[in-house]
Point group: C2
Chain length 403, copies 2
């Protein structure tokens, strides 16, 4: 076991267990024939879960129904209307449908909100009580229905991991549940299904993907540098292709690279050896979404550069330097602190100019009214040991940088 202390940064070579069992069908029309085969491995009673009407508009709903109805044994039950920042109340309703109809497998068709919801439904099916109990830790997942997903938005990576993030709008809480039980068995990744994702959602989704990598890359615990190199490759990919997809929505190459990168940004591979890996921007963003119901990726896009600038110091400048030269190709002969500053500017250019995302909370009509309360909820009177130590004052400061 090698341990090296470098002021703030800690290099620990952690041991780990790697297991990512999700089977992926990647490409156009891979659904055909394969969807029903995969579903029938788990049973015939399917809960088809989706969000608004977009899957009907793009013909995906009908395609899936046709595929499933071509087999007489399969019975489809539906729950539609899952919202962004999905609510535990909707999940409770869907659980009822599962229990009433002896559902064998959940087919989640959509983006992260729909897939995250399917995860809570899958464990809710074996629990008598409010699904929110899983989120607050009142009960633990013990059994889950198998989940199959058809992804329509490259962003959260939920299609290949065991995390679900759920919101409770009554209590202003947005929190995650993690369990290997809720990792999807099979996910269908068809880049052409994201052609109709609009510019704004493409930008927010890309910001989300990039944030997942940045939160791991800029973390207190480093590990195998092989994974840093992989993360840099993924970040270059997201930055290159988000810009293309933003301008050419039907560019297969761009949509495909974004889609596969979104899964690998957060399926566990790149962060497996750097635990604990505290995602500071996500903690802050979850407060914003819980209070103001804003788009997750947009919140991250606003927060991340401000946080990175706030966190930069002499002892961690090396990390920014590597980021700058390896991801943005900044001249490696410049002073490290200059490369660091430039790297944040490059990130801002990408988010706010190339992807035209809002760079402050004011334009979303968010002021500092709840910042103290949000910071309290994050810190709980203590210190967050993220990439740097952060207390309540720091958190409020970062929020204030955003308005």
């Amino acid at each position: 076991m090698l341990m090296k202390f470098r002021k703030d940064l800690m290099c620990i070579m952690n041991s780990f267990v790697y297991e990512i069992p999700t089977k992926i069908y990647f490409g156009e029309n891979e659904l055909n024939g394969n969807l029903k085969t995969e579903i029938q491995k788990y049973g015939n009673n399917v809960l088809l879960l989706y969000g608004g009407g977009s899957i009907k508009k793009i013909g995906l709903y009908q395609k899936i129904i046709n595929e499933l109805e071509s087999n007489n044994d399969i019975k489809v039950f539906e729950y539609a209307g899952i919202e962004p920042n999905p609510r535990h109340t909707a999940i409770n309703e869907a659980v009822k449908i599962c229990k009433t109809n002896n559902i064998d497998v959940i087919l989640a068709v959509g983006g992260g909100s729909v897939i995250d919801s399917s995860k809570l439904i899958s464990i809710g099916n074996y629990y008598n009580g409010d699904s929110w109990d899983f989120v607050i830790g009142k009960t633990k997942p013990e059994k889950a229905l198998p989940i199959i997903t058809v992804l329509t938005l490259s962003a959260t990576g939920s299609e290949m991991n065991g995390t679900a993030v759920i919101s409770n709008m009554e209590t202003h809480q947005k929190k995650g549940v993690k369990s290997p039980l809720i990792v999807p068995k099979v996910s269908f990744l068809d880049p052409t299904l994201t052609y109709t994702v609009n510019k704004y959602q493409t930008a927010c989704g890309s910001a989300d993907i990039l944030s997942h990598i940045l939160e791991t890359y800029f973390s207190r615990n480093t590990g195998l540098s092989m994974l840093d190199r992989v993360m840099e490759g993924l970040m270059k990919t997201v930055i290159k292709y988000a810009k293309i997809a933003y301008i050419e929505p039907n560019n297969y190459e761009a949509r495909a690279n974004l889609m596969w990168a979104s899964s690998w940004a957060i399926n566990g591979f790149v962060r497996i050896d750097r635990q604990p890996n505290i995602w500071v921007c996500h903690m802050l963003e979850h407060q914003l979404s819980a209070f103001y119901d804003i788009t997750h990726g947009l919140g991250l896009a606003i927060l991340t550069p401000k946080y990175m600038r706030y966190a930069l110091n002499e002892s961690n400048v090396d990390r920014y330097y590597e980021f700058g030269i390896n991801v943005f190709d900044i001249d490696k002969n410049l002073p490290k602190s200059e490369v660091a500053r430039k790297s944040i500017e490059c990130l801002e250019k990408f988010l706010y100019e190339d992807l035209e995302l809002t760079n402050d909370l004011k334009s979303l009509n968010i002021n500092d009214e709840h910042f103290e309360e949000m910071a309290d909820r994050i810190c709980k009177n203590g210190t967050i040991e993220g990439f740097i130590d952060l207390n309540k004052e720091d958190i409020v400061n970062i929020f204030n940088e955003c308005i």
Copy 2:
């Protein structure tokens, strides 16, 4: 589906199915407690398979026996003596032991030769006949014993994929078998077990890892560029840490990075979307090993730069250019052809100076006696559609460049 023809190079966005189910325990002493638990998921009768005495010298054999004997239900049967370039005859003997003792699970402890052998034994257990029949395609794998591995050499990546390469010294044949049935269920990757790997084997193993990535990186079919970026990251990792491990055999960080990179170089992830992906240097090396029983990694180290220089032309110079600037940090402002030449020189410096590997076949007492026959066996009167088209004359030319 996007298709772009660029003279020799073909960019096809293939569809693919991704499924890499091997569970990995990574780190020092992860065996403890976990090995017997994983074994008992499959049964109690274990075939312990290993090579020469090295696992006894480093105390690993005794550690495993102690771990397994701490459970009274587990019965261990042994087959030792698997050689490098493993022989089908040894495999047939081990299959007999499996059949006689109702083996439930194979525990392969060693490097690629031992693990590859375990794969053929696992399918041989369900076949009445010579295991070589699988290699020549006379029969196909239909069922396999589960395999668990403990890796002691970072090189072939066999611990996380479904390929086995076996030699028949009577017929001078070295060929592969592929099947999802023979992917190990669980592999234990403890970098400290490679501390005793000597300089020469460390160098050959690293050359092998690098070759696996190069064979995919320099291929006719390109695909998601995300995977090119990942490959570049893996190559930088291998080059950096092979040099460190070569000088400091007990450097955990170096051994750990090499070990995890070896698995990811060839577990299918980076090449999944670029099929067919013909590995030309491996085809040539398999002939060398089959005729002269040389170390696989050394054969690849000798062949690869000669092949790369032979294959370079105006239409594929872009690939060498990307390799040069992204892996060896060569000045991107130089003419592409110069970057290409320099990239091959950097590779040669790494293999022949840093790792002190032999750079020609003459020093191994190999002359051109069998080159024609070897080329015939590769080409079978046709053309190999690798990164470039190669006919018999080309293959003989490349072999001749090596003496």
